[in-house]
Symmetry: C2
Subunit: 191 residues, 2 copies
């Protein structure tokens, strides 16, 4: 577990084993059961979560009571409502485990302390957020323009392992499709 987070940080900045052991003390390691909800709409958003193993889903419930998925996070991804986290305000989103998941969670205050003690981690987060923001602009392009069928095939083509692992109804919710529609286009492709 620790090794994987250590390696991930070292992809972007160099830290040694001693620093890493100290860094870990700022986090809580949590085991989250499949379907367990760790953040609810209406909660104060004061934690950031790193996925060690498993998969988290961020969603909200619209006025009609339908779940809409905003984002998934698998191994080595960070997940929170970053704007509410930045503002230390209430979130509109839920975060739930798609499968049994291990996460490293850090509070806003602890993350500030961590960054004061290890300023080099500013670079780690800067690069992570740069990539995440960039990826969300690309997703915007898909959402604005592709047909629902094209979005589904682009997604499964680019993330085949992910598409196999996550239940169809969640992929449907992520892509703004109904589960019935996904079944239909999958059957169409097979035939």
């Amino acid at each position: 577990m620790a090794t994987q987070f250590f390696d991930h940080i070292n992809m972007f900045v160099n830290i040694d084993e001693k620093d890493f052991q100290r860094i870990l003390t700022f986090f809580d390691l949590r085991s989250v059961n499949k379907k367990e909800i760790i953040v609810k709409a209406g909660d104060l958003c004061n934690f950031n979560h790193f996925v060690v193993d498993g998969c988290l889903q961020m969603f909200y419930i619209n006025d009609k009571g339908t779940e809409r998925t905003i984002q998934f996070a698998i191994e080595n991804w960070w997940m929170t409502d970053f704007l509410a986290y930045h503002n230390q305000s209430i979130t509109d989103f839920y975060i739930q485990a798609v499968e049994n998941t291990k996460i490293l969670s850090i509070s806003y205050d602890k993350q500030e302390e961590l960054l004061n003690e290890f300023p080099k981690l500013e670079k780690y987060f800067r690069v992570i957020y740069q990539i995440s923001y960039g990826a969300s602009l690309i997703k915007m392009k898909y959402l604005l323009d592709l047909s629902k069928e094209e979005i589904y095939f682009q997604f499964t083509e680019h993330f085949p392992k992910f598409a196999q692992r996550v239940p169809q109804y969640l992929i449907a919710s992520f892509l703004g499709l109904t589960p019935e529609y996904v079944s239909e286009i999958r059957n169409k492709k097979r035939s």
Copy 2:
């Protein structure tokens, strides 16, 4: 001009006037005319742009030849295709000035040098990207769920000055609407 960028950086990290004068040497100040295109699809994406004054639009042209707007940047916003910038690869997007615009542009290599010389700017960019990524998750929520009419009213309610300043056809393109549809719902609201 310089004062405004100085103040913006100082909202997030403390730098003094002497450092700032040195920081400015990493940038090129450019005056971009209304409608001028500064990045084209197919270009290597190796610049990041800070808007000093004016407004930039990021868009792409889909298979049907239609422009779709991904993002606007007004004063104090950064704009590039962040994923292509990170990977130093070809972009699919165009960047164009909506009005006469002044920007500070920095190349990827210069930005790396800048961050090596002033590591405290890692925090500045980390926070900027955290906010930008967070805002894009909120936009995703709107795109996935609201009706086109609701999206338009949410947008004009939250960004009234922006909605007055940017031509209607660009707002339409940003929200995935046709200009005719925007006219129609604006007239409906007036009546």
